[in-house]
């Protein structure tokens, strides 16, 4: 930890006090709460030989869980990409009664505990549920299938695209659209060639955030998925199963793989946000 503190404490002089205290405390707390537990995870993985590690993370059951986790997260983030843009557009450009309430409600998935979301969605989409009964009549299984998992992930990721696109859309200058129109572009052309390119970085950031959130999600999925190995078992649940069998090293191996992917996604998101801020700031 001393090494970490030494790394971060090289700085320019400032007249403001409290750098040592605030920085020291932040690094201490960060190490204690985040680094230490995460390094325990990675070190536990090293108790396995390479062969054993491979057997855990590339087992058929694990691969089936990756396929579901990443597949459903990708589909859910894509749905959120389209509808997030639509919702942001309607909230910024149009006015209708109750708009402020709707705008505030978009953050519900951030504030509603995942377990509550999980049982509510399951109750809605179960074969005898309010919506599930129609699907049931049509012979489509929603709850306890990959479809249900995707729906839960759509709910969880819903605010991300809306909240990243909304401020950028508010800042798109009307003059640019007027210029496009006066140069003879129709509305669709203006949208595709002027507005959409300005929104693209924020759209991608929102997509990546929703995707990153979805692959780690547990609470809402565990109720609606039915948790059948090879079919509706997501990776976090597989980790949970390993834990319940006291296979800590196996759980840690799967956890390390997920952690690595999450970390790479976080870096990608940071790059996207940097690009987005740059584009966004440059347009002004």
């Amino acid at each position: 930890m001393g090494f970490i503190l030494a790394f971060f404490s090289k700085r320019k002089k400032s007249v403001l006090p409290g750098f040592g205290l605030s920085m020291g405390f932040s690094i201490f707390y960060l190490s204690l709460i985040v680094f230490l537990p995460l390094s325990a995870l990675v070190l536990k993985t090293f108790e396995l030989s390479l062969d054993e590690f491979w057997q855990v993370v590339a087992s058929e059951r694990a691969i089936a869980s990756y396929r579901l986790t990443f597949g459903a997260s990708f589909v859910a983030a894509s749905i959120n990409l389209v509808f997030g843009l639509l919702v942001a557009w309607v909230l910024v450009r149009y006015s209708f009664p109750g708009k402020k309430v709707i705008d505030a409600l978009v953050d519900l998935p951030f504030a509603l505990p995942t377990a509550v979301a999980g049982i509510a969605l399951t109750a809605l989409y179960a074969p005898n549920g309010w919506i599930g009964q129609f699907f049931h009549a049509a012979g489509i299984k929603v709850a306890y299938s990959a479809f249900g998992v995707t729906l839960a992930l759509v709910f969880i990721g819903l605010p991300f695209v809306v909240r990243t696109v909304q401020p950028v859309l508010e800042d798109v200058e009307k003059e640019l659209e007027e210029a496009a129109a006066s140069l003879g572009a129709n509305r669709l052309q203006t949208f595709c060639r002027v507005i959409f390119p300005a929104l693209l970085p924020s759209l991608l950031t929102g997509f990546a955030l929703a995707f990153a959130r979805a692959i780690g999600e547990y609470g809402s999925v565990v109720f609606i998925s039915g948790n059948m190995p090879f079919k509706t078992e997501i990776t976090p649940l597989l980790i949970m199963t390993r834990l319940e069998q006291f296979d800590y090293a196996g759980a840690a191996a799967l956890g390390t793989v997920m952690l690595l992917i999450s970390f790479l996604l976080l870096l990608l998101i940071n790059l996207l946000q940097h690009w987005s801020n740059h584009r966004h700031g440059g347009a002004k």
Binding site: F8, K10, L16, P17, G18, S22, M23, F25, S26, L30, I33, V34, L36, P37, A40, L41, L86, V87, W89, V90, Y94, F96, L105, D107, L108, F110, A111, L112, P113, T114, A115, V116, I119, A120, L121, A123, L124, K174, E178, A181, S182, T190, A212, I215, G216, Y218, G219, F223, T235, L237, I239, M240, L243, A251, A252, G255, M258, L259, L265, L266
Partner: protein, 299 residues
């Protein structure tokens, strides 16, 4: 005469531009309907069904479900965990944002990314990490056992997992705001003879209060609702280590749907309250910001 002609051309030109930068009415209605249907399906209906199912068996069952000893204990434990986790993360958030926003140092961007890390980590993995540290076969499991101090399957583990999950929420709200505000005001206060603590209390704190409050309510909502991480470390012992979300899971798995939704409705109310407070805080912050801008314009 000529001026009238010019005015005419101007106004027709303006009218065509206005039409060219707006969608036709039918498209507006279609898009709005689509967006609202999507939101109804994914936000409104889950919320409605929580309250609908909670009261499905009547008011008495509802009250009984949230006052029975196991539920009352779960509510108390959830409040306790949040009451410890939130202040810890507030102190960290203030410290980290002071260091990051007011000073230039190497690796700042890296530090900001690391603070965000818990958001990207799956809650189950967070719980697993604490299990590996404090569990019976973990790093310190034996030592803790010898000294008769339980972290796993006990309250300290639940608090630690909650702190991990809600770690970034206050810092994330404060860092960008304090970075934008810069350090001129603090420097001025110091030049005028204020102590470091006075500067922080009288200059910095008032200018970040709305963002700080927003961070706190968000952090609190997450702390009270955390499920995955707490579910790994708690052991789910009724009336001992059961938090509200875990209690909901147990009730649901026992097919006591009305009771599960009754406890859920309390957390849903908390979520709604969080959203209302959030809107109110944003409105206040915007008002303050506008007033400050007006003052600057007068100067």
């Amino acid at each position: 005469m000529s001026s009238v002609v010019i005015d005419n051309t101007n106004s027709t030109a303006r009218i065509t531009i206005r039409q060219a930068t707006a969608e036709p009415l039918w498209l507006k209605v279609l898009l709005t309907t689509l967006a609202l249907s999507f939101l109804t399906l994914f936000l409104l209906l889950p919320l409605v069904i929580v309250f609908g199912e909670a009261f499905a068996k009547g008011w008495q069952v509802y009250v009984a479900s949230i006052t029975e000893p196991a539920a009352a204990h779960a509510i108390k434990l959830t409040l306790l965990a949040a009451a410890i986790a939130v202040p810890c993360n507030v102190i960290f958030g203030l410290g980290a944002s002071w260091a990051i926003a007011k000073f230039q140092f190497r690796g700042k961007q890296l530090l900001i990314t690391l603070i965000d890390l818990p958001i990207a980590v799956s809650p189950v993995i967070a719980g697993l990490c604490f299990m590996l540290l404090f569990g019976a076969r973990g790093w310190w499991g034996e030592w803790l056992n010898d000294h008769d101090f339980a972290v796993m399957f006990a309250v300290p583990g639940i608090v630690l997992a909650t702190i991990f999950i809600t770690f970034p929420f206050v810092a994330r709200e404060l860092i960008p705001l304090m970075q934008e505000q810069g350090r001129e005001q603090e420097e001025a206060a110091l030049t005028l003879g204020a102590s470091g603590w006075q500067t922080f209390r009288l200059v910095t704190l008032p200018s970040i209060k709305w963002a700080l409050l927003y961070g706190i309510i968000l952090c609190n909502a997450r702390a009270m609702g955390e499920f995955g991480a707490v579910s790994v470390v708690s052991g789910k012992i009724r009336e001992q280590t059961n938090t509200m979300p875990l209690h909901i899971e147990i009730l649901y798995n026992e097919y006591q749907f009305a009771a599960a939704f009754a406890v859920s409705s309390l957390l849903a109310l908390l979520a709604l309250l969080t959203l209302v407070l959030k809107s109110a805080l944003q409105w206040r912050a915007a008002k303050d910001y506008a007033e400050a801008a007006k003052l600057r314009a007068v100067e």
